[in-house]
Each structure stands twice: as C-alpha cells, then as structure tokens.
Symmetry: C2
Subunit: 327 residues, 2 copies
Amino acid sequence: MPGTTEFSVIEKYFTYDVARDDVVLGVGDDCALLSPPPGKQLAVTVDTLVSGVHFPVNTPAEEVAYKSLAVSLSDLAAMGAEPAWATLALTLQDVNEQWLEKFSTGFKETLNAYGLQLIGGDTTQGPLTVTVQLTGFVDAGKAMRRDAAKPGDRIYVTGTLGDAALGLKLLAVDDLPDPAISKACINKLNHPVPRVEFAQKAVEYCACAIDISDGLMADLGHILKASACGARLYYDQLPASTEFRNCATYLKSFDYQQMILAGGDDYELCMVASFENEKALFSLAESMGVLLTHIGDVDASGKLSVLDSHGELIELKQSGYEHFAHE
Amino acid sequence: MPGTTEFSVIEKYFTYDVARDDVVLGVGDDCALLSPPPGKQLAVTVDTLVSGVHFPVNTPAEEVAYKSLAVSLSDLAAMGAEPAWATLALTLQDVNEQWLEKFSTGFKETLNAYGLQLIGGDTTQGPLTVTVQLTGFVDAGKAMRRDAAKPGDRIYVTGTLGDAALGLKLLAVDDLPDPAISKACINKLNHPVPRVEFAQKAVEYCACAIDISDGLMADLGHILKASACGARLYYDQLPASTEFRNCATYLKSFDYQQMILAGGDDYELCMVASFENEKALFSLAESMGVLLTHIGDVDASGKLSVLDSHGELIELKQSGYEHFAHE
C-alpha cells in the first residue's frame, strides 16, 4: 500500500505525549477517555477554518495551526474557562509532508503554551478545512454567560479595536509610508492573542463576556439580545492602537469608524460588570498588564446606540459582519 | 443585510430543546456548559464526512445527517459508552433552506433516538463537510480499549460482514436479478446501525472492541497492534447475510472474500473476550436479538492469519482500506 496513510499521518504528526493527568487514554483508540475534575463544569466550543474563506490559501501551515486554536481559545476565554482538551478534525487535499510537519509543530507549540492536550481527531481527504474543538473547566456558576447583563452595568473592552480589520485592508496596500503599521495590524489579524489568563481571573468580577470575532457592535449585540437589554457606546472612548491612529493620518480613504465598531477578528473581550466591581476589575487588569477600557453602559432601551463626545447619536451604516451575508 | 446569516441558520435549524439535565447551557453562547456525572469517564470521538469522498454528492440531506451521527455513535459503541452530547461543525457551499430543513430534521431524529443533545457547533461557508463530535459516559475502568487483548482470548463479530462493501459495488449495477439484494446492501451502506445498546452491556464481558469501519482485517489489526498479539481468523465462520450469499451466486465477478475480510463501512463490532465470559456474552447477545459469532482466536504469533476449513492458511491480496491509499 503506497503513500502515507491516514493512520501514519495521525501516528507521525498528531500523537503527542500525554501531559495531563485527566487524560486516561489519548489519540489512537475509538474514543479518548477523560476524567473530568469533580465540581467543575465543562465549557465546550468548536470552530472551523476553511482555506480561502477564513485564511488566504497561501497562509503558512504554522499560522493556520495557531489560528485554529486561538479562535477557540478565545471562546474559552469569553466564558472564563481554563483550557484542557483539544480535538482536531483535519481535512487535507493531499498528504504534503512538509505542510504537515509545520502544521504539527505549530499546533503542538500552541497546545503546550496553553496547557492543552490533543486527545483525538480525524484526518480526511478533501478541501483544506480545520475544525478544532476545545474543552475547558470553570467553577460551577462562575462562567461569563451572555444572558446576565443588567441595566446600569458597565461595558469594557480589552486591548484595542479595529487592528485586524485594518490589517486585512493593508494586505492589499503596497507602498505604506510606515511598514511598522502594516506589520502590527497584519500580525493582529494572523496572530490574535486570546485573553485566556485574564478571563479566568475576571470571572470573579464580570457577569458577561464575549470575544470580538464578528465586530464590537455585532458581538455586544449578542449580549444585549440574550440579556434583553440595550446599551450606549461612547465612540471617543473606544481604544485604538498607535498604529491604527497613525494609519488614519496617512490613508484617508478607509472607513476607520466601521473598522472600530464592526471590524472582526480582533479576539479581544467585551465584558460587562456591575459598577461596584469596577475598581477590582481595573486592578486585576493592571496587575496582569492588560489594557482595559470602559466603553459604554448597559441600559433598558432595547437598542444599541453609539454616542459622540457631545452625547449625540452617531448614524451607522451597518452593524457587523456575517459569514453568509452578501456585503 | 440580505440573505440568511450564520446566526439565523443556527437559530432556525440547530437550536433544539435541551432535554438533558447535564446540559447547563446549550447552543447560543461562546461555549456550551456541561455538568459531567460524578464517577464517570468521558469517551470522546470526532469524525468528518466530506461530500464526494465519504458520501456521493447527491446523497439526500437526511441520510448525510444520519450517517454523520452513526459513524461517531459506532465509536462510542466500540468503547461501550452511553451517548450524551454532540457538536456539529457544518461547512456549506451556500444556504439551501430545503437542504438545511431536511438535514436538521434527520439530525434531530437521530439525536433523539440515542438520547443525545446538540450542545454547540459552527456553521461556515465552503465545500460541504460535516464534522460531528460526540461525548459519552462510561464507568471508570470499564471502557473496551484496543490494548487489552491477550493470547487465548476469543474474537467475535456482531451482525454480518461485507454488506456495505457489496452495496457500494451494487450502486453501479443496473440489472440485478433480485432487487431486494441491492436494497438490503445499499441500505447497510447508507444506514449502518451502530451497536450502541449492546455495547453498553457487553463491557461487563469484553476486554476490547473496535468498530469495523475500515474492514475486519485492518480494524482487528489495530487491536492486535495495540495489544502486541497475533490472531487466527476462521474464514468459514465469518458471518455473511442471506443477500450477500445470494448475490455471490448471481454475480461471479466480484471479489467476495475481499469484501468480507476488508470491506469497510459495516460498523459492526469486532470484540475480544476471555473464554470464561463466552457463555454470558452469547446470552446477552441472544437476549438483545444481536447476532454474535465467534470468528477467531488471539494468539502470540504477532501476525494475523486467515485459515480455511482445513486449517490451511489463505493467501490474501490486501489487508484493509486506507483513506489516503492509492488502490
């Protein structure tokens, strides 16, 4: 039987050492066997990345590996869960040993960086598609759900907004006055850093969180819908990076407001907490070196408004990004 | 924003009622939240079906839905686990409401039939690919692993062998003397019934099990490799259906030996148990209406041999089926 087979792909590239005590049986049987820790709830998320849709077809294998884990890690962060187990369903056009070697190395590095163990998966033939499912642990009742926001709560965001959306635009710009801008923004697009550690501690203070994958307006909208609330965002308080602000002075043609409010793929956290927790939450963020900004307030209006520095309503063109939408 | 979006696809087609007490939060947040039962281990399996590779492109949506769950249910059966939670990562070329309606209905019916709850998923745009991950429960130490066979143990198989492989061949045959043969075999191919209930009880008697997805020789080979054993199979004892045997009298050109020994997709269980458990195992099978056949014995030879009714070695052309092999 010539060529590399499914079994040898798994054996060669995806049988990593088992490092976690809660993994009784890892890759290589009909199922993995796991011992969940007593008293914890499991947080489970699954994400698929399709070549040519979620990443350019020529993206290096190690970056595909990183991003396939990062987007799901960001979902665990949005619940405040501690990463534990991963599965990988990998559909490959053909067995490209060089690509697999790089993918495997990148995947393993990221697993190790977050204390994750690969426990199982499937390798199939077809158009390049990467599906990762992660399971994390969270104390019962502590997870940051979408449905717990109340009027009067305050809205925060980690990091800066719009960089990934700008990075996507800058991929097509050749002669930027300052290449450091492209580098920083494209790096944010290709290498988002999920807020996993901060989120695990922030569960003490935050009622809700969501990760910003579809854009601030769309993702905050999910919290408001699930919580049956409305909110005001203060446009001038929305945090932008130095690179983002510099770029806005060079390239006037882009819609920067749109990128800040509706740009996807930043994988920052939008969090909701009651005002009495604000001091403790800011202390936590500061102690962990995380930029955290108060950007708005939850209200009972039933709608999401964006206000300028004079408290006047800003008219918006569109509210977010949808995978199946025809833009 | 025109058209059906990712969120409305999930909301419309994949937000089923939560029926299980251990599901704290189902579809619709960043993660599902689950309460695993104390004292149980979790058995986890993931399988991907790619259109045009694992099923013909024109397969009805409800059959794709059924098979995507059946193949993973069969993996849970191979461990003896009780089905509990499902996730679905669905990649679609476009939003075809008719297709989604049928897929959703078929998926829900099968979930309900096996006590499964859909707890999360992802919907993306790309070539049609269905990835299902299932989690089941099994008492600690009871799972039927691949690495527990010992020389002297006996080898059994549920149901009959080769029907699905024959069904695949018969898809291309127009004028079969008896259409009931095609119907039965093609049904076995498209609608394999995982041995979920039997397996949950058989854990009391069986050390090992594997589901036959790649063919008896290949799958039994996985047990022997993991257990560092060999085995003898008795060719004349291998169970074939009436339809399979009748077809062999009509159509002489097919390689029936190959189908029995190496035909994939039957999703029967190959099980290993010590001789002292044989009586109890057969009683269990009989009480549940499951055909169970003693087909061979584990030995210390380090290789897998097939013997004829005179105890003579049968020469074999190939040992199994590999997804990436060039046949």
